[in-house]
Symmetry: C2
Subunit: 163 residues, 2 copies
DNA sequence: GTATTCTTGACTATTTTGCTGGGGAATGTA
DNA sequence: TACATTCCCCAGCAAAATAGTCAAGAATAC
């Protein structure tokens, strides 16, 4: 044993697999559902190369929020409950990641900070927050699909092979 | 015991205490150093209400990167090695938080993803990345100080009472 | 010489992440 | 009605990251 600890970059300010998988999940359903057919988790799992058990867990929160409809039993599965342009990426991410504010102070409610007005740095965090929201609240599932169609080669619809 | 588990929002997409403390630390030094005097960690810890042992750890990486100069012994302490406008918030955060890209694929180098070109979602993560960098790479320590001076009441120079 | 202050490195508790697995309930088809 | 299928719910767990703490040592000013 020569090396005991190897420093790898921290994982802060990262979107977790839950959030990323949720976006891919919704995108997959959007692209594979038909008038008459539901999309099975098992198939999504295979296409996206994600554990189906983990996907089940993630889709549960999407179901709970009414983002998808489900049907049990044979020929069952999931489908979107609205049109693709009605889902912003932000709405999907917030369901699975929680509030995306870079510091808790900004979250408001129980976790907000009462002294936020007097903090310089909070002004900074607030700017970061606005910048992030400016993107995720203005990109919809429809946009993602459009981007994919514009791609001249095979699009993986996988953000990465990595975790 | 009635409640066993309480679900609190996840901590993803959050700037860690290390990063937030580092910004406050630099700001504190900037505001308290003089021509002849260094700023002691102990004093910063007291002013900022952060454990001095923890601050020592954080300032070590700032020292290592040449962001601050130090002097040991009595009357020793730390001071900035450059002008306040030469430190962007991004440079400070990246030192303590690592790369701030929201997904590893974007980091390039060892952690980058070779297939990034073919991913729709990566285009999205990339937009978020640009938005974040657009803020943190354009705000300097000098700006923070200016903001604080503009504040009509006592500014805490603490982003929060919270962790 | 002595008090002070930085410097280094190891250690630890807690939380979060990223899963896995078991069993049950509903549904369509034969 | 039997049965395979599919969603649904809950429990648990290993690895990693976070947010520190602790102890001992080296340099410096007075």
């Amino acid at each position: 044993m020569f090396i005991k600890y190897v420093y790898l970059a921290g994982e802060r300010m990262k979107i977790s697999t839950r959030g990323r998988y949720a976006v891919r999940l919704m995108l997959d359903i959007a692209q594979n559902e038909t008038e008459s057919e539901f999309v099975r988790v098992k198939d999504i799992a295979k296409r996206q190369d994600i554990s189906d058990k983990y996907l089940e867990q993630i889709i549960a929160s999407l179901k709970k929020a009414g983002f998808v409809k489900s049907l049990r039993g044979a020929q069952g599965g999931y489908r979107l409950s609205r049109k693709t342009k009605e889902y912003t990426v932000g709405s999907i991410l917030r369901l699975t990641e929680g509030d995306l504010a870079p510091v808790s102070c900004l979250e408001g409610g129980e976790f907000g900070c009462s002294r936020a007005d007097g903090c310089v740095t909070v002004r900074l965090w607030s700017m970061i927050n606005d910048a992030i929201n400016g993107v995720i609240d203005n990109v919809t599932l429809e946009d993602l699909i459009k981007w994919q169609e514009e791609m001249p080669y095979i699009a993986y619809n996988k953000d990465c092979t990595q975790k």
